[in-house]
Amino acid sequence: MAPRPDLTNVPDADVVALAQRGREDAFREIVRRYERPVFSLIYRMVRDSATSEDLAQDTFIKVLNHIDKYRPEFKLSSWLFKIANNVAIDHLRRKQLDTISVSGSPNAATESEIEATSFEIADGAESALDAMEARELGGSIEKAIAKLRPEYRACIMLRHVEDRSYEEIAATLDLPLGTVKTYIHRARIELRGYLEHLRE
């Protein structure tokens, strides 16, 4: 049999088509592309690394075992985020685990590691002071996000981490566009409140 080509630069839709034809390397490519975005979204919602990993695993298993049901008019990433959000919300409802965690990175142990891993210093930070301020803000933001309602968190993550438009977020989370705008607006106001409180 001819050697299989590298799928790294193949568009999502084509990778899905290959997966639908039973190509295992296409399944693996989907996981490789989206393990970080899916895990991060879930982690920021449930704030526990072991649970997040289980839920991320559930998300991929659900999507990949139903890859034949994929509708090409929907972005693959949006479908994954939709399932990831549902899985996380279900878990939170089940466990009522909506508590505040202060950890930054799921694998960080000490306070300094948390600070270091929870925030990447912005490129072009003009001075050491800027860098330190940016890092502090990042750590504080992680803590502040944990205080938001889960619905707000999902919207904020999709908007700011995954760079999605309001319309895409609405389609992904099955929410009216106006609701998405309201959630993001309220989340930002709440975050400002938490951050100002932390500064005092």
Partner: protein, 195 residues
């Protein structure tokens, strides 16, 4: 410029850096109003901090753990296509021979079908009187026999005239011959590929 402070949703529009008509007056107001400029700076600080949040990675081996629970299924039509591809000879001449045989078969069958439909009309016209007499003599016996052996459907078919009988017989012969030719060419082709 406008003479009131910006509403929260207007600040959002500026934070999201929306383009379009109506944005210019908002920007103009912010430039001349320290209070709104402060509000906007605070909102932008939060949005900027959110934009710089990074993604986390699951622990190593995540993909393998997922794949251990995923069923990779090759759909039947894909499997069939792959098998068919395997049967097509690599040799170019052989492929041409196979394609030509297939084309000839298709043309032959289509031609036979056309001929048959014309022929049936003629047979119907000429043989109507003979058939009528035959039906009287044999028909009743055959119909009742067919009804006994094969049920109501077969007797209806028999009763519908000699056209159906002729078409059925010729059709059977033709498809039998076509299958034989196709099988033969396939066998020859695969034997030659192996050599």
């Amino acid at each position: 410029m406008q003479h009131r402070h910006l509403l929260p949703n207007e600040l959002d529009l500026l934070v999201d850096d929306e383009a379009g008509f109506g944005m210019a007056p908002l920007r103009a107001h912010v430039e001349s109003c320290a209070e709104c400029a402060d509000q906007l700076a605070a909102a932008q600080r939060v949005a900027g901090g959110l934009d710089r949040l990074t993604r986390f990675a699951p622990s190593p081996g995540f993909a393998n753990r997922v794949m251990a629970q995923v069923q990779v299924i090759e759909p039947w039509h894909v499997a069939l296509t792959e098998t068919a591809k395997g049967l097509v000879p690599r040799n170019r001449t052989l492929r041409v021979v196979m394609a030509t045989t297939a084309a000839l078969l298709a043309t032959g069958i289509s031609g036979a079908a056309v001929w048959l439909s014309l022929r049936t009309d003629v047979a119907l016209y000429l043989g109507s009187s003979i058939a009528e007499r035959a039906r009287v003599v044999v028909g009743d016996g055959a119909t009742s026999l067919a009804r006994t052996l094969l049920g109501e459907g077969a007797s209806t078919l028999l009763g519908s005239g000699p056209g159906v009988l002729i078409a059925g017989t010729v059709g059977l012969l033709l498809s039998g011959a076509a299958t034989a030719v196709a099988l033969r060419s396939l066998a020859t082709a695969s034997r030659r590929t192996r050599e």
